[in-house]
Assembly symmetry: C2
Homo-oligomer: 349 residues x 2
């Protein structure tokens, strides 16, 4: 049995308590500065307010200011913050890391560097650590289709643990595997992480057609799966191309990280709500104001990719006619454009 | 303007009347021996009983025994029968073909040959023609995500026309393209057709989890998108492998033919109903009797692939641990096995 410290008490970080407690591990769950109410609730009743469920018996909640205690003598640190929490995470956790420390991140996202290169979360965390630690801690990550609510309900879930070292990944796999949490491993960290980030962008693309479907039906047929399917296919097409550009393995286009995670995010994710409103004909500002308070990883990743693509085009790495779907999403979000799917630009190279 | 004869007045063949009539072509629609009632209805009122919609103005209906008239002076023949109608089609239409005749098929399926090789529909049609015509007619096909009801409602639809000759494909593309029917072309006939056939098999695989979702919810959460997504991903994984074995391009795994068509078939196809019943715990015999009268391309293709895999394994082309999902579906259909997803067998090579 191991001791595992989850930093970030949001839905995804907390959901990992189920397989970990089912396996008998000691689980410490640390709230960020945003999670005070959650930790209070866990202390009082064990009820997680956003997962809307009792956490498993024995999960130990910690407030942000107790993070030192939570990280003492721990075997593994789970990075449970969202993509905007990476600075906070490294600032708070960095001082407690030692050479040989092991981490695994559920954070999804990419950072666009000033030259337009896109950097994955494990590299972004590593870059922020003190120079003496860089390359001396093991930062792994989890990709693949997993809605937190469903993992907490012990639904069958298939994910990919990625990292540079297969032996470490096998070890991590053993800590987390249960009869319902199925884990495959991959040393293609860039590929898995690029997919994990992009699925939030492209799920919004597919969701546009769900919104268009809401508005249709005047001819007696509301169904709009043909357009959704074409958008899903174009999303796969652009994800594969982004894998090529970033150096990730294109094989990810045929298993859990790309089509699997995109599928689940279209149906289960929060992104659906925004994409649907846009597809119904609302402007981004109108749609955004209807969703006040929801963290939109999708908007963040589309913004970052949109910014990166301009720089990659300037460098000649990407051509102007590539990535038409994500560029349209970027225009909808940042230039006040209404949804108007660029069908004829799809599936070209 | 051209004259186009559609042979087979089922839903998919008939749905093509919309783009063709919108482009002003002469459209002749010929019923098979199963379509007498449909042709009667079209003559009487223009109403198509299974599409539940008036066909476009000017579509000319023909009974089976008028097929000679319908094929006279035609520019293009659409093969609109299902996979069980290929023998009938070649018997009836073959005598009217000439060197240079052009055909395009919406039929989806694969034939398993005695040695286990899988043959695509255009090759199956060619093989049945008189020797003097073999290689002298152009047999093209349509793949990609298209639910007939939605095409008839003029929903945006993206498809792939495949064939051996790019110039012919460009010509066909021009005949059919409208503002809502978006066509890309591919000379990878094997790849596109293998995907078009397999999607019916794998949509049933994903639908199992939809049925499992119907039965869940005892813990307050009915959602079951994690299992659906893992099954969708395993489907993509097996489709890619089948592309490799059949010599189809693996690139199809990243656009309309594979993920696009699988997506639409999960949600819009008739296959969903059977897979869902199986996922709810019914045996195949029980589920099948509830769906009496529905043509199940999915059952047909799973049966053929199951048969082919045994022969391909005997020849050493396929290993025993490959294709675990479709083999499970085959066992459910033919060996009375109840659904029990073989998660641990997924994503191995």
């Amino acid at each position: 049995m191991a001791t595992i410290t989850i930093v970030g008490a949001g839905m995804m970080g907390t959901a990992l308590c189920w397989p970990l407690r089912d396996n008998g591990h000691t689980v410490r769950l640390v709230g960020t500065f945003l999670d005070g109410d959650i930790i209070n609730s866990l202390h009082a009743t064990g009820f997680h307010p956003t997962l809307q469920r009792q956490v498993p018996e024995g999960v130990q909640p910690y407030f942000e200011n107790q993070i030192g205690d939570a990280l003492g003598d721990t075997d593994l640190i789970v990075v449970g913050v969202n993509s905007l929490g990476v600075d906070w995470f490294t600032m708070k956790v960095g001082p407690f890391l030692k050479p040989g420390s092991k981490l695994i991140a559920v954070t999804k996202g990419l950072e666009d560097l000033p030259n337009g290169d896109l950097q994955i979360i494990p590299e972004g965390i590593m870059r922020r650590l003190p120079v003496g630690l860089q390359g001396h801690v093991s930062i792994n990550a989890i990709g693949g289709p997993c809605i937190a609510h469903e993992l907490a309900a012990r639904r069958h879930t298939g994910v990919v643990f990625c990292g540079q070292n297969s032996a470490v990944l096998q070890e991590l796999r053993q800590l987390f595997t249960t009869s319902y949490y199925h884990i495959w491993i991959s040393t293609d960290v860039v590929g898995v992480e690029v997919c994990a980030a992009l699925k939030n962008a492209y799920a919004m693309g597919v969701a546009l057609a769900v919104g268009m479907m809401d508005q249709s039906g005047l001819d007696g047929l509301a169904a709009m799966y043909n357009p959704q399917a074409a958008l899903f296919a174009q999303s796969c097409f652009e994800i594969r191309h982004m894998l090529q550009i970033t150096g990730g393995g294109v094989d990810n286009i045929a298993w859990l990280p790309a089509p699997g995670d995109l599928y689940v995010t279209v149906f289960g994710g929060r992104t659906l709500r925004l994409g649907r409103l846009l597809g119904q004909g609302f402007s981004f500002d109108e749609a955004h104001s209807q969703l006040a308070g929801v963290t939109l990883e999708s908007v963040e990743i589309i913004t970052r990719i949109g910014r990166a693509l301009k720089r990659l085009e300037a460098r000649g790495i990407v051509q102007n006619d590539e990535f038409p779907l994500i560029k349209h999403l970027d225009n909808v979000i940042h230039n006040g454009v209404k949804v108007n799917i660029p069908w004829e630009a799809f599936f070209t190279r």
